[in-house]
Symmetry: C3
């Protein structure tokens, strides 16, 4: 692993990231305390938080946010503006009225298995497993596990049915 | 009030903002003409426009956009990628074909009351009141008022019903 | 055409863009290989990719992503956080397991006709035509053509029906 991506670009913040070989990171990114596998590409306006693992040969597209607790296996496509969640009942403050810290909620874990694709604008709730080669449609809000190879769409996301035409 | 946050960070644009004590502002932010209360934290890739008030001990997470006309009370959680709206019928130009200016539409007002939580990816239309300690689910599109303590989900957002399982 | 916008701003990346007269570009933008017409305004945290044409007197609001294959005619409003798509079946890698390149999928084309408005948080799938002066509601996921003058809302987007109240 290396401590820098394979390319150079302005306006990047990279702190304590382990990079594989040939990783490309675009401008306007905020990456810290995570691992990124070989040949993966990360677009602009992306944040990846501490403890995240991103596999090899993934594409993480612009405007996406990957939070602590998320593991992305190899060859996963994360579309533009995809948002992950790791807190089932987010609040700004504790019942005592002080700002919550990481100790104040149980961290949810999410796994996106090898070869899956998350469409642009998808929102992935915590404690979700998206199976191998599954497809999450653009704009879907994923609230439960997605079986390997399945396609889900909508809010909340459900298996693709005949009445839902994704193409025109 | 101070004219700078309590921390330092690169790639920030801060113009004419009134900050309370202990405010933390992450990199890649564009804040102007707004007020931010004590101990509030603002994530990266956030824009907050002129005239906005954000209360004390709030968390404004990454990729969110808070427009003119919005008031956020104390201890509110604004998730990642949350979008506010202040224009009921947005158009680029007037009927005369010239670019619209602020005088060309009535500014809608939105209030997020104390202790509420807006899930990641939520879209909040204008002229909406989200009540105290209410919860807006991730990815919800809020088109009308949310009562205090209520939870709404979906597009358009409705009160959480049994058929909608937020957890898996 | 000029090779720079009419204003100055920090933290912009502009490579090979043709600008009309009086174009304003905000900070934190990533624009390359595209054309932008007279008097159009582009907000912060926006990416516009190679080959895109944006017409005159448009507003492209913050956090939006406009991909290759998209043509935006004159006087179009693109809200905040709007996402376009140009790939029907996105995957990170080919069946051989190597990273996909532009040659590995058919580029979809999308046209947003003159005077249309795309609400904040809308997701526009590929191969879609949004007609003249049409309105796409905030948070809508557009999967098929939108007729001129029509209003669509929801996920998937459908023509606005009486049961859906956009205002409160």
């Amino acid at each position: 692993m290396a401590d820098a991506p394979a390319n150079d670009a302005p306006y990047r913040i990279i702190n304590g990231v382990d990079f594989g070989e040939g990783v490309l990171v675009q401008p306007f990114t905020n990456l810290y305390g995570c691992r990124v596998g070989d040949e993966t590409r990360i677009g602009p306006f992306v944040e990846i938080q501490r403890g995240v693992t991103v596999g090899a040969r993934c594409k993480i597209q612009s405007h996406s946010f990957i939070c602590e607790g998320v593991e992305i296996e190899d060859e996963v496509f994360v579309g533009h503006g995809v948002l992950f969640i790791n807190d089932r009942r987010p609040r700004a403050t504790t019942e005592a009225g002080t700002l919550q810290t990481a100790e104040d909620w149980p961290l949810q874990r999410t796994v996106i298995a090898r070869g899956a694709a998350l469409g642009s604008g998808a929102v992935i709730l915590g404690d979700v497993h998206v199976g191998e080669s599954a497809t999450v449609g653009a704009g879907a809000v994923v609230t439960r596990d997605v079986p390997a190879g399945a396609t889900v769409v909508g809010n909340p996301a459900r298996a693709l049915a005949a009445e839902r035409r994704v193409d025109s």
